[in-house]
């Protein structure tokens, strides 16, 4: 493929190809979309254990006495609530009403944080945060040197516990520890993930990525671990109603409209916070909702949402056939008067308006 010459390669690129990974361009990287098949990979994670290489994700280290002040100004969530070893989901609001990116904030200590950002937004985020870094915080972009493996599923903990003395069962959701794993010290072990299936995300240096990949597969053999691609990652996150940047949130959506009010804290000031506060107080005119498709079809991004009489009331942002629920599900923005669970809406698919119903998120 001619594209691959301009695509970035993760350190495990050749390992994925050798394992039968079907490689596709994603966010500027050549990434495995599936190995054995999306369905078996999805079910492995939901019911057992699977491993994703998500090394395309970006990591920034921020250090210095002004770091809390900087993060409070650029992120929407309240970073002051974090203690050492805790992780927080947040977003970077822009100054035009939308979101630069969503991200995870890791607190190592009061003067050192890591930010984990979407691959497609690494450069944009770096420029954005740098622009607001008026307090001389030391910023280091570690993205090209770090790899990230997500070991997900109810049995992930059993696999990984074989490889570390860190007591994983004592680790709460959205906490992390740095320690020895698979014989490598300074490994970041994070009880996080994008599947809603439980499990951990493991950060390591690039040169150790293949060692970790092989060691985890070997340790997981007795549990039936399999390699999983971005296809299953997407169906898994959508079943849990997790937003995907570029689909459900973007440069134009407010976190309030996106249902991310829980990470948007107005006890502090952040970029454009007055604007989002006004949206919250005046009730947003559109809202991100989940829906089940009642009639037969699959919703996809950009499909129109209508009232069944040909009038457009919104747009689909994500959609798929849910492998766990065995039905077509989606998310999209609708005018607020159509956002209540139980409301009948319609999805325009190939010229037909197909019946759907607004449901509470998550789907599963």
């Amino acid at each position: 493929m001619s594209d691959s010459q301009t695509l970035k390669l993760v350190p495990l690129n050749d390992v994925h190809i050798a394992a039968g990974g079907k490689m596709v361009p994603f966010a500027g990287f050549n990434m495995p979309v599936q190995y054995s098949g999306l369905m078996p990979e999805h079910h492995a994670v939901r019911n057992n254990v699977g491993m994703f290489d998500v090394s395309h994700m970006g990591e920034f280290r921020l250090k210095g006495p002004g770091v809390l002040d900087l993060l409070q100004r650029v992120t929407s969530n309240d970073v002051s609530k974090l203690t050492d070893g805790k992780v927080q989901y947040s977003c970077l609001p822009n100054d035009t009403g939308g979101i630069v990116d969503d991200l995870l904030v890791y607190r190592f200590n009061e003067n050192e944080y890591y930010l984990v950002v979407n691959a497609g937004n690494i450069d944009k985020d770096w420029v954005w945060i740098s622009k607001h870094n008026t307090g001389g915080v030391e910023m280091l972009n570690m993205s090209d040197g770090m790899s990230l493996l997500a070991v997900q599923g109810p049995n992930a903990i059993k696999v990984l516990q074989k490889l570390t003395d860190v007591n994983l069962s004592e680790m709460e959701y959205y906490t992390f520890k740095t320690g020895m794993m698979a014989g490598k010290d300074h490994t970041i072990i994070s009880n996080t993930g994008y599947t809603g299936a439980g499990g951990f995300e493991i950060y390591m240096m690039n040169e150790d990525a293949e060692h970790f990949w092989n060691t985890i597969l070997e340790a997981g053999k007795e549990f039936g671990i399999i390699a999983c691609g971005l296809g299953a990652r997407d169906t898994l996150r959508l079943e849990k109603g997790f937003c995907l940047y570029g689909h459900d949130i973007d440069d134009e959506t407010s976190p309030i409209e996106a249902g991310l009010g829980w990470i948007t804290k107005f006890e502090k000031e952040f970029t454009n916070s007055a604007y989002h506060k006004a949206i919250k107080e005046n009730k947003p005119s559109k809202k991100l909702v989940g829906f089940d498709l009642i009639e037969r079809g699959i919703p996809r991004q950009y499909y129109k949402i209508t009232d069944g009489k040909g009038n457009e009331i919104g747009e689909v942002t994500s959609g798929t056939q849910s492998p766990s629920l065995n039905k077509a599900i989606g998310m999209g923005y609708v005018k607020s008067e159509y956002s209540k669970p139980g409301t009948e809406i319609f999805i325009e698919i190939r010229g037909k308006e197909l019946k759907a119903e607004v449901v509470k998120l998550p789907f599963l």
Binding site: V33, Q34, G37, L38, M39, G231, D234, T235, R296, G297, I298, R300, T320, Q321, P323, A328, R350
Partner: protein, 125 residues
């Protein structure tokens, strides 16, 4: 990859089995692999007469949607009802249980323009 020699093929990755003026049509093993897990085959053109290259249906995989193009002109006289409940048959048995439609050809000479298994294999390689 398996491309049976007794079938004809299109550049759009459909296969055609010709019996007199009757053509049975499906998608190739290559096509189903590219699409991934197929979850819905929508064909609402039964009874219609369409020209070659017109869209006769749509196949939805978990990640993608793809139109189905008619390889030869004619009337669509039957669709594979079994795919309503078992769309995965297209993945598991693309040349057998995964067949999609039967067409009464209006111009059987169009078959001559279709690809042989060898020619198609060169494209789908």
């Amino acid at each position: 990859m398996n491309f049976p020699a007794n079938l004809k093929y299109t550049e759009d990755h459909e296969w055609v089995k010709v019996e007199g003026d009757l053509a049975t049509i499906g998608i190739t093993e290559f096509a189903q692999g590219e699409l991934g897990d197929i979850v819905f085959v929508e064909i609402e053109t039964v009874g219609q007469s369409l020209n070659a290259h017109e869209i006769f249906g749509t196949v939805e995989a978990v990640k993608t949607v793809s139109d189905l193009f008619l390889p030869v002109s004619g009337e669509i006289i039957e669709k594979n009802e079994g795919l309503d409940n078992d769309p995965q048959n297209v993945n598991e048995d693309p040349y057998g249980k995964g067949w999609m439609i039967k067409v009464k050809m209006s111009n059987p000479s169009e078959v001559d323009a279709l690809l042989s298994a060898d020619d198609y294999a060169a494209i789908a390689g």
